[in-house]
Symmetry: C2
């Protein structure tokens, strides 16, 4: 292993983590200002919604990253990639859950993460509408508004009292099959649709047993693995091909026992460790 | 029509409304105190969860009502009915969404309503975990934290961009059939599981297109009709028989166009105006 393949040291990861929290605060201010001023929504080429808030928040993040680390790469949802060959890559989704955002439902969030040669070092999900910021650093733990997160695993007899969050059925159809969704809602009494990043943060807190999220892009899940694993949970990711030039994934994350149970009922060889 | 059948005058309804808001604040304080102190959960005879917070909040509400109106009836989830023959009936659910509450998911709420001879005069849903209080009085409008709510109806071409909230599939099975749930999640791309009263308040705000909620008891829906109708929405309620001595209902409420579309896809003669 060459020196360039070694992971950045703890002190450096801590520095990245603190920057990520400052960036999240910056993007949060941009989003809250835009909510106060009002915004227009428009349709992107792929028929998904976008607003001025998406652009303003991503610009705020990009500016902050380029000031601090001009040679780091940036992969964001709204602008072309920067330095795609760099070892350090910031992955950004300024507003995950645009449908919620444009409807005034406060369950959207800003996702940002720093990966080093594909390995996540720092992950942050910020919910401006809820005043909640979740962050994790590799070896640094997972935190919510400065409070340490520790997932307590579920016991098998209590499985049916756990809440499982799943995205829309159409997302299952996109990646697997509607049958997987239908099996899940028949087998488990509490399947809730806390979609987008709110499902990921509820899983990292251990408030829900697990989140199942299909049809997600790299930026949708860029922070989730670290948040869940650093909190003591299990994260499983499967690759489901490419769409519009971007890879498409499905994830299952949360309490280890609940994730194991979900893998059993889905029984799919395509689910591999992320 | 005799004098006793006339509805209380506007000034009196306003007085009831103000009391309901004060009661909600009282119950909110009891719940937040209990969250700070910690609580035990236990199973009731019907296998649903209950905590000390449920009892303390309902006691706070009952005490306040009896001080103000000793002859009013009270129907609450946790204690036996008081003056069940009275014209004025307060209907209480101290913690709707106990599963969310015990898991630390902030989407639970306190429901209270005053009905006069079966007709709702006042309805309040308070979310202590979100700092949001929704209230409506007959002819007094619907409000969130003092801000007037006005639902803007959806246009038919935009239907598929509306979010529809539906409870767990098991609740559809209880009242109608799993097929109704399966049809809904196949026909509509954005079905989210904002169950319990959070779905009702999101509908009253017009943030979601509509909420579909089956297997609900009188206290679960006691405030919803007024909140939605006073905000300019449509509310439809169907009776689905009795269980454990209490009637069971299904409701569809929200933007008129979305409610109409849902009634069409369910095509059930059992859905009648509430």
């Amino acid at each position: 292993m060459t020196i360039s393949r070694t992971l950045p040291a703890l002190a450096e990861r801590r520095r990245f983590y603190r920057l990520a929290l400052r960036l999240a605060a910056r993007s949060r201010r941009a989003i809250l200002r835009r909510i106060a001023r009002g915004f227009e929504r428009s349709l992107k080429a792929d028929a998904t919604l976008v607003t001025e808030a998406d652009f303003e928040a991503e610009l705020a993040l990009r500016t902050g990253i380029r000031q601090a680390f001009p040679d780091h790469g940036i992969l964001g949802e709204e602008f072309p990639p920067l330095h795609p060959e760099a070892d350090f890559q910031w992955i950004l989704d300024p507003i995950d859950g645009t449908l919620s955002f444009t409807h005034g439902i406060p369950f959207f969030g800003t996702i940002l993460a720093l990966h080093y040669r594909g390995r996540p070092l720092v992950g942050v999900i910020d919910h401006p509408g809820l005043g909640l910021c979740y962050g994790a650093g590799l070896g640094l733990g997972a935190w919510r508004n400065g409070q340490r997160l520790r997932i307590r695993d579920a016991r098998v007899p209590d499985l049916e009292r756990e809440v499982i969050s799943a995205g829309d059925r159409s997302r299952f159809v996109q990646c697997r099959s509607g049958a997987a969704f239908d099996t899940l809602v028949r087998r488990h009494p509490h399947v809730r649709g806390y979609t987008d990043c709110i499902g990921h943060t509820l899983a990292a807190e251990g408030k829900i047993g697990a989140v199942v999220d299909y049809g997600v892009r790299p930026w949708d899940i860029a922070a989730t693995r670290l948040l869940v694993e650093e909190a003591g949970g299990r994260y499983v990711c499967a690759y489901h091909g490419r769409q519009d030039g971007q890879p498409l994934y499905g994830i299952i994350a949360g309490k280890p026992t609940v994730v194991r149970w979900l893998l059993t009922i889905f029984r799919s060889p395509r689910h591999t460790r992320g």
